[in-house]
């Protein structure tokens, strides 16, 4: 079985369809296509052995293929509020940097995430964060406040958490109990755009921390694989449910590590998705839970593991 690796292709609009066809022919999947003026960015999964071939074909088109560890993941960037104290810098810069590594990021601005005594997390926020593969908490400056309010902000969160804040990594590890999956110190309330080398180094550290955490999850998934590879199910849905092509969202179907988010209303479309045939006699309903998402009225598909379904598509 060929191993698919996440890569980003950056090149011009000119003849980029050839690259898309090539990835398709090689058995890869394009998770996200982004056209910005003359440039195209393709977030995709391609067979490991064929990366050099894509590089060679992309050479005359001045296209670049780089490994992007976060392709096919959806990450929540959690900001204590949407006030000017936390936005646009820090939270948006973090989200932007994670996107460059291939992730699909969503900003979750808490309604009451500020103040060490009054901070809290409501059920909607909790459920939305739990719909992601990982949550990055962009916290503030003081150890005292983080220690006091973080247990409240993480209540009920089951996905891995990475914390960023001003105190250094060791201090964060000391004050956060029980431990979270990752820590990045030195990113707290910052009121300017991240542009200095040391600030960008911190963002690189964050990407490393996120990909380390997600790699651990991928290893666990490899031991009990999913019934279908999410980008494959995504390709099937995009091909068979034509309404998806009419959506104006940048990612009408968002790939996650263990499922998909389909940005169609739940009530009218869930039965159609459930009965969609993935392979001979196997429908989406057999291998996945199709549930309503807490994010608007979208559909959330959670793919079941092989151990549960005994089906591998």
């Amino acid at each position: 079985m060929t191993t698919l690796v996440p890569v980003t292709y950056k090149g011009g609009v000119y003849r980029h369809d050839e690259i898309m066809d090539l990835i398709d022919d090689l058995g890869g999947y394009i998770v996200q296509k982004h056209v910005m003026a003359q440039d195209v960015v393709l977030q995709s999964f391609v067979p490991r052995d064929d990366i050099d071939l894509i590089r060679e074909i992309a050479k005359p088109l001045a296209g670049q293929v780089t490994e992007a560890p976060l392709v096919g993941t959806e990450i929540a960037v959690v900001s204590p509020s949407l006030e000017i104290h936390h936005l646009p810098h820090t939270a948006c810069d973090i989200a932007e940097y994670l996107r460059r590594s291939g992730a699909k990021t969503n900003m979750v601005g808490l309604s009451r995430g500020f103040g060490k005594r009054i901070a809290n997390l409501n059920d909607e926020e909790r459920d939305i964060i739990n719909e992601h593969d990982l949550a990055v908490y962009a916290l503030g400056t003081f150890e005292e406040c983080i220690q006091q309010k973080f247990p409240v902000l993480r209540r009920g969160i089951q996905v891995p958490i990475i914390v960023t804040a001003s105190p250094d990594r060791e201090a964060l590890m000391r004050i956060i109990d029980p431990p979270v999956e990752g820590y990045v110190g030195g990113i707290g309330r910052i009121m300017h755009r991240f542009k200095r080398p040391e600030e960008l180094a911190k963002l690189d550290e964050l990407v490393d921390e996120v990909s380390r955490t997600l790699d651990a999850r991928r290893d666990a998934l490899a031991r009990d694989p999913l019934s279908v590879f999410p980008p494959r199910l995504m390709a099937i849905i995009e091909e068979r449910i034509h309404e998806v092509s009419m959506l104006t969202h940048p990612t009408p179907v968002t790939a996650q590590m263990e499922g998909l988010r389909v940005k169609l209303p739940y009530d009218p479309y869930a039965p159609a998705i459930r009965s969609l045939e993935v392979a001979d006699g196997v429908t989406v309903g057999d291998i996945a839970d199709v549930t309503p998402s807490r994010m608007r009225n979208y559909i959330l598909i959670r793919i079941k593991p092989f151990s549960e379904t005994r089906i591998l598509v």
Partner: protein
């Protein structure tokens, strides 16, 4: 780092002190207040919790009068205002409409306003106060301090008068004597009394 004559940030948390120095610098720079603020002292203690900012303004901008941005040309039947800078045109028109009525204020083109002779004296018109930038400056300074202060510190007491300002904020109720106890000593350290 802003070129203020006095800029001190105090906090028991060393990381926090450094961060707030940077935050204050960035905010003042962003809001273009560095030239306006002369001295600034900030104390933050998340344990209490309290945030205090106190300081002095450099100089207050004076009120803007008609003669600052327009030429008043008296004619036989009418007075013609020749607008040199449009910045204050909108508040000027508002004032003129309110005082002389819309039927008496004619604006044949963007840079000309015509008033009939006799409704107002030329000198009085030249001296008419159109806007007071210090009014918005007060708001800007308070906004900047609100922006610098930790977000959770919602209970606040603010003051800006005669070139002095302070901003005290906390998450909990502020004690009644907080100004005398905490703010006054800070002003003393800056060499002035509140």
């Amino acid at each position: 780092m802003p070129p203020l004559n006095y800029f001190v940030v105090e906090s028991p948390d060393a990381v926090g002190r450094e961060a707030y120095e940077r935050i204050a610098g960035d905010v003042l720079q962003d809001l273009d207040l560095i030239k306006v603020i002369d001295r600034l002292h900030i104390c933050v203690d998340p344990k209490v919790p309290i945030f205090v900012a106190a300081g002095l303004l450099r100089h207050m901008p004076r009120a803007i009068r008609v003669s600052d941005f327009a030429n008043v040309n008296p004619g036989e039947k009418e007075t013609v205002l020749d607008i040199a800078d449009e910045t204050y045109l909108a508040p000027l028109l508002q004032k003129l409409w309110a005082r002389f009525g819309k039927e008496n204020v004619d604006q044949p083109d963007r840079f000309t306003v015509v008033l009939p002779k006799g409704v107002v004296g030329d000198e009085e018109l030249e001296g008419l106060v159109v806007a007071d930038p210090s009014e918005t400056l007060y708001k800007d300074v308070i906004y900047a301090l609100q922006y610098i202060a930790p977000e959770g510190f919602k209970v606040r007491r603010q003051y800006i008068k005669d070139g002095k300002f302070y901003y005290v904020a906390s998450e909990d109720t502020l004690p009644a004597d907080i100004v005398e106890r905490v703010v006054a000593p800070i002003f003393e350290r800056m060499g002035v009394s509140l």
